[in-house]
């Protein structure tokens, strides 16, 4: 067996892969959040739609997105396999009584459940927006410069149906912003997004600092900071994501 295969198939090696893919996904969350914050710009969705166009057409970003898909799949598959492996390590009988709440945080013991919530959310989320943006038909919008120099929706642009040719025109965009606004008028979807972000928050609460421990980074000087940063991250990032459906619901 080659040393690479041997290392990556050991328990520590497999945890290394979970940790590295997890850290990549944490970085992705930051990028995704900054992009999505464009939704809050009061410009008829211009900034957000332009950002969405850039993200789906720029070659480097498209390549990075394939890495992202692979990373998500790897994180899920390796973690799921490890969970099954770990369950078998207990052996045939399990304890009649366990007081695990006295020795470990709830989040750390339920990463599988929390991760599954996030995974189900990702599938729903992709079918809501990503699929339509990439393959489906979307509403379209044209922007123009107003007298004051701001950018606003052009009123004389009315399309009956989706057309790829029209997209080649200047200032014409797929109106993902409108899709977002429409989607978040649905109460159930807003609730589902909030619950999923709660799941993500608890997943990150353990996952963030655990990723560093797995890499062997546990240091008197840095670990207290990593733990605080992880906790802040796990609260702030999901809360900002959850604020989007909430704000659109009450605006809509």
């Amino acid at each position: 067996m080659s040393w690479v295969k041997k290392t990556l198939s050991s328990t520590i090696g497999r945890k290394l892969l979970v940790s590295l893919t997890g850290i990549f996904l944490i970085i992705f969350l930051v990028v995704h959040l900054i992009g999505n914050l464009q939704l809050f710009k009061d410009d008829g969705g211009y900034a957000f739609n332009a950002y969405a166009k850039f993200m789906t057409t720029n070659t480097l970003i498209v390549l990075a997105s394939y890495v992202l898909y692979l990373t998500i799949i790897a994180h899920v598959v390796i973690s799921a396999a490890l969970t099954l492996f770990n369950r078998k390590a207990r052996g045939g009988e399990n304890y009649m009584v366990t007081k695990s709440s006295s020795n470990s945080p709830w989040t750390s013991r339920n990463m599988g459940v929390l991760g599954t919530i996030v995974l189900i959310f990702i599938v729903i989320h992709l079918s809501n927006f990503w699929y339509h943006m990439k393959f489906g038909e979307t509403p379209m919008v044209k922007y123009e410069k107003t007298m004051s120099g701001d950018i606003a929706i052009a009123q004389n642009f009315a399309v009956e149906s989706f057309s790829k040719d029209l997209l080649k025109q200047d200032m014409v965009y797929k109106d993902l912003y409108k899709m977002v606004a429409e989607a978040f008028k649905q109460e159930w979807l807003v609730i589902l997004y909030i619950l999923a972000m709660a799941g993500l928050a608890f997943h990150l609460a353990h996952g963030f600092q655990s990723a560093f421990q797995t890499l062997g980074i546990n240091h008197k000087k840095y670990t207290p900071f990593i733990e605080k940063l992880g906790l802040a991250f796990s609260v702030i990032v999901p809360a900002l994501f959850a604020s989007m459906p909430i704000i659109f619901y009450f605006k809509g």
Binding site: I12, L82, A89, R90, N103, S108, Q213, G216
Partner: protein, 253 residues
């Protein structure tokens, strides 16, 4: 003197590794709050033997909290409800009069039950045999302080060396992972100059053996360190991750 207490004991009884076990309930009376947990089991066994029944088998040796033999999972926690002690250092004053106490063996695929509460922990021995040693010629006694060791490292190595190999970490872990045990042994030697020469080989060999024995992977819940009777902490596991990954990616083997 305080009058003796009465307890209901639910104890795992299993004839041998291949037979199926089950819980059996016993009532024990007139137990002094000052008696140790193992003495309480001794009293129970005396009563069982007097009645001609098979006594409850459990591991014990020094009864001073340093040998690592006792291995009882008491009311859902390894070594019972108190912090940083082994089951032999646990006393009946930690349990209310009339309380029901559930006693189970360590549960792990790598620790098969031999009989009742006795489990086979030779998996730990095989991990030690794989690399938990230093290969040196034992010459004459060296001079004191001949090899300089920073105080900080000596302290950390000593803390890691406090591990008695009882297996409470494996018992407490939801994954039955042996990472705390292996990390304590690897740390103890890697922190000292005598252990430095073989540190890469050691980390690889001990982790390899740990995986072969069927222990689970570490998911950083911290249950092991919280239940460790010797207070071995999680920085050791981070050190093992470092040692193993460095040895794998930067070592020649």
């Amino acid at each position: 003197m305080e009058k003796g207490r009465t307890y209901t004991l639910k104890i795992w009884r299993q004839n041998n590794s291949s037979s199926k076990g089950a819980f059996k309930t016993y009532t024990i009376e007139n137990i002094s709050p000052g008696s140790s947990f193992l003495e309480m089991l001794d009293i129970l066994n005396n009563e069982l033997e007097a009645k001609g029944e098979d006594p409850v088998h459990f591991d014990h040796d020094c009864r001073e909290g340093i040998c690592g033999m006792c291995s009882l999972f008491v009311n859902g926690r390894p070594h019972g409800p108190e912090e940083e002690i082994t089951a032999c250092q646990l006393h009946m004053r930690s349990f209310k009069d009339g309380e029901t106490i559930v006693i189970e063996p360590w549960r792990a695929k790598a620790f098969p039950v031999i009989k009742d509460l006795v489990v086979d922990r030779s998996a730990f021995d095989r991990i030690i045999q794989a690399g938990g040693f230093i290969s040196v010629n034992t010459g004459p006694l060296p001079d004191a302080n001949e090899i300089p060791i920073p105080k900080q490292n000596a302290d950390l190595a000593m803390d890691a060396a406090a591990c008695i190999g009882c297996g409470a970490c494996v018992a407490a872990c939801k994954n039955a992972s042996a990472m705390l045990f292996v990390s304590a042994k690897v740390s103890q030697l890697a922190l000292l100059p005598q252990g430095n020469a073989e540190r890469k080989r050691r980390a690889l060999a001990m982790v390899d053996q740990m995986d072969q024995e069927g222990f689970g992977a570490c998911s950083n819940t911290g249950a092991c360190a919280a239940e460790c009777p010797k207070g071995i902490d999680l920085t050791n596991i981070a050190r093992l991750n470092r040692e193993y990954l460095t040895a794998s990616f930067a070592g020649a083997e």
